[in-house]
């Protein structure tokens, strides 16, 4: 028994369904009743009920690609702000490709307080802070581009089904775009104007994430903005 229509906006505590269903993300189950735990759009599938949250907090998960800012340097590595209640730990071994000598200067030379990095979450559980690495190809210090912050809940929408949305924006704005799972997006393009377009598109998606026909509308918006400048 479903109590709402698909894609309706639901609020925390509302009874979504009753029966032998699986409680998906942003819902919880008590007996046979499934309730929403966050404000968002309810999605009913055959066996699962979930809510696509309109806003949520980023909780790290191993494998996530994240963009962070160096906050502190200590003897063993760096503390990284990854837009989460939990601070990321980047150990020296996970940053250097060759064995390093324990000298503080080495660390600051590689990454200093205030630097931005693209990193990957290696491990995280209840007892430790998330461990990061930048040793894989493509990861490391970010040297150019602009940062956009969105709610982590919007990241799937910005990427789109099979990356359709993000690829469209990259194509139309000629920008390189890296989307961190933690809601931080890096935009880097041939000119500030290109970057501005990409940022505009991303912010618009975040705002209208709960509506349909978004990909086409954003594509049109970008074309319109480009046309104005031409």
């Amino acid at each position: 028994m479903f109590y709402f229509e698909n894609r309706q906006i639901v609020t925390p505590g509302e009874l979504l369904a009753e029966g032998d269903y699986i409680a998906g993300s942003n819902t919880y189950k008590e007996g046979l009743k499934i309730y929403a735990s966050r404000l968002g759009l309810v999605e009913y599938e055959e066996r699962t009920v979930q809510v696509i949250a309109l806003n949520s907090v980023y909780i790290p998960s191993p494998g996530d690609q994240v963009i962070g800012k160096i906050e502190d340097i200590n003897v063993n590595g760096w503390t990284v702000d990854i837009n989460s209640p939990y601070k990321g730990i980047l150990r020296a071994n996970d940053a250097f490709n060759k064995p390093f000598k324990q000298q503080r200067d080495n660390l600051a030379n590689l990454l200093d307080v205030g630097d931005l990095i693209l990193a990957k979450v290696v491990a995280f559980d209840r007892t430790i802070d998330p461990i990061l690495t930048i040793r894989e190809p493509g990861l490391g210090k970010i040297t150019q581009g602009q940062i956009v912050r969105v709610s982590p809940a919007k990241v799937p929408r910005i990427i789109g089904r099979k990356a359709s949305m993000i690829n469209m924006i990259k194509r139309e704005t000629e920008c390189k775009i890296i989307v961190g799972r933690n809601g931080i997006v890096l935009v880097s393009g041939p000119s500030p104007e290109n970057e501005r377009l990409a940022i505009l598109a991303i912010e618009r998606i975040a705002q209208e994430a709960h509506t349909s026909g978004l990909t086409d509308r954003i594509a049109e918006m970008i074309k319109r903005e480009k046309g104005v400048k031409a």
Binding site: I9, S56, P85
Partner: protein, 248 residues
């Protein structure tokens, strides 16, 4: 005590013209502050209250962190200009008690176990007070928590009932609270049917207490409908804008 004001007139109406079980006009808005993770604003009669939520975030000072859940902290504070006679900004004993009581009203609703070693900080600022501020403060704090995307078992909504001139009434304003015979603030989790805040001062018989409690719960249910609308409002408005634009 002396110089009694008539709180109910010969037509059964209250000093502001309301019937006994009528709520004051209520206005709510969600997402009003850009820095906070979640925020909301409420006007209930002449009471004006703002709430902001920061978190889950790192706990400061560190030693307060709990190993298996988030620490919920709540500060209920009245602005010096919020009342008739300027109130000192330093927290009064009443504000300290209400901060505790409101925190305990919100705690059962939040999934604190999902965020060990963090804190969720709720700040309630009363900009103008005209009675019922702990209830409106609880209601607006719950909106701010939901706006912040913090997972909750249920919303929390609050309303007071009381007795004035021998009559049981809903949603007392300041004069009714000061001059009346009893004031019963209640916070309610509407889908789970549980009460998370309950206080009373005054004098009520057992029967009156039962009736006042039920009256307050009815008030909570009405205010809950407004809470839901306020949460959905921002998104519904955007949806409608988009749909209209598509039709053109």
């Amino acid at each position: 005590m002396s110089g009694k004001i008539r709180l109910i007139d010969e037509n059964g109406l209250r000093v502001d013209g309301r019937k006994p079980n009528e709520l004051r006009p209520i206005k709510m808005e969600v997402g009003v502050l850009s820095n906070a993770d979640g925020s909301a604003y409420i006007e209930q009669g002449k009471s004006k209250i703002l709430a902001a939520v920061y978190g889950p975030r790192e706990v400061h000072p560190r030693h307060l962190a709990l190993p298996d859940r988030a620490l919920l902290r709540c500060r209920y504070h009245m602005a010096p200009f919020s009342v008739e006679e300027r109130k000192s900004p330093a927290p009064s004993r009443r504000e300290i008690e209400l901060s505790k009581v409101i925190r305990e009203a919100l705690e059962p609703a939040v999934f604190l176990e999902k965020f060990p070693r963090t804190s969720i900080d709720v700040f309630i600022e009363v900009l103008q007070a005209d009675g019922g501020t702990r209830c409106a403060g609880t209601t607006v704090a719950a909106l701010a928590l939901a706006d912040a995307g913090i997972p909750m078992r249920d919303m929390v909504v609050a309303c007071a009932a009381g007795k004035i001139d021998g009559v049981l009434v809903l949603d007392l304003n300041d004069i009714e609270d000061k001059e009346g015979e009893a004031d019963l603030p209640v916070a309610y989790m509407p889908n789970l049917g549980l009460i998370s805040l309950l206080q009373m001062d005054g004098t009520l018989t057992f029967e009156e207490f039962k009736q006042a409690l039920n009256l307050a719960i009815e008030g909570c249910k009405q205010i809950y409908r407004l809470q839901k609308e306020a949460l959905k409002a921002k998104y519904v408005a955007i949806k409608e804008e988009v749909e209209e634009a598509c039709l053109q």
